[in-house]
């Protein structure tokens, strides 16, 4: 059994209003950053899955991402392998 670690990035879907991103963007000029635009705010979930094979672990994460971690109506997600922590 191996432990596989992943990071799942969950972002508001393109075209879906992201009021949080908009508010963060609106605050940036206060730091003199006038050239920043298209700010989107999402979240990241990191998790480890015990499995014999990477493929098996990946399937678990894919199911969790689409059925739970993200709401497919308004969010997209992206799964990436992550460095296992000690």
């Amino acid at each position: 059994m191996t432990s596989f670690r992943y990071s799942v990035s969950i972002m508001p879907r393109a075209g879906i209003l992201d009021p949080q991103g908009r508010a963060v963007e609106a605050a940036m000029p206060h730091l003199g950053a006038m050239s920043v635009h298209d700010v989107r705010v999402g979240r990241r979930v990191e998790l480890s899955v015990d499995a014999e094979q990477e493929q098996e672990a990946r399937m678990v994460v894919e199911r969790l991402a689409s059925d739970f971690l993200a709401n497919p109506l308004v969010e997209d997600w992206h799964i990436q392998p992550a460095e296992a922590s000690a």
Binding site: I16, L17, P19, Q20, A23, F68, L69, N71, L73, V74
Partner: protein, 229 residues
Amino acid sequence: MKIGVAVFPGSNCDRDTLHAVSLAGAEAVALWHEEPDIHGADAVILPGGFAHGDYLRAGAIARFSPIMGAVREHVARGGLVLGICNGFQVLTEAGLLPGVLQRNRSLRFEHGWVRVSVERSDTPFTRSVPPGVRLRLPIAHGEGAYFLPEADLDALEEAGQVVFRYAAPEGNPNGSVRDIAGVIDAGGRVCGLMPHPERASERLLGSDDGMMLLRSLATSLASLEAQPA
């Protein structure tokens, strides 16, 4: 006639809802979320609050509470379920109602009185509301902006599933598409709304308009009971 009110860790309107249900003439029973049983309740209300801390997304974790299995079975048997505020969020996350409740467009926690038009008075939740009446109800939520993709919205409207809409003078408080404040499922048995009828259950509170909804529910159950088995 028994109405169960689910209690999740983080629910904070359960007591008010139990009280308002009693005022409506029904027996009110609290249902702890860890029990996979609605204890013979004829209808279930999922109350307002912050079930499971609203972590991840409002309602996302509550949908896995054991009580929700019993609620699904109740729905499958044709039972009535009402979700108020956080309860509405739980019902959408559980897939029992269409759509999703997103962060308010203002990014603020919005609270105060709103006016709500009742689009349908032929549901078990609105039958005691006289036609044309606009309810005065309080809201208190951070994630109340109803969203559904445009094409699905048209289908929802066509099917008559939009039951409550924010109306003048206060208008839409949170950026909900098409001013939607509450919807019903295709079968007409599961309903959710963001405003709080239980907080408008006595005139002392500023309005008792919410009682029209809770009385509708109680009346619907009474007429079910009156039917021969």
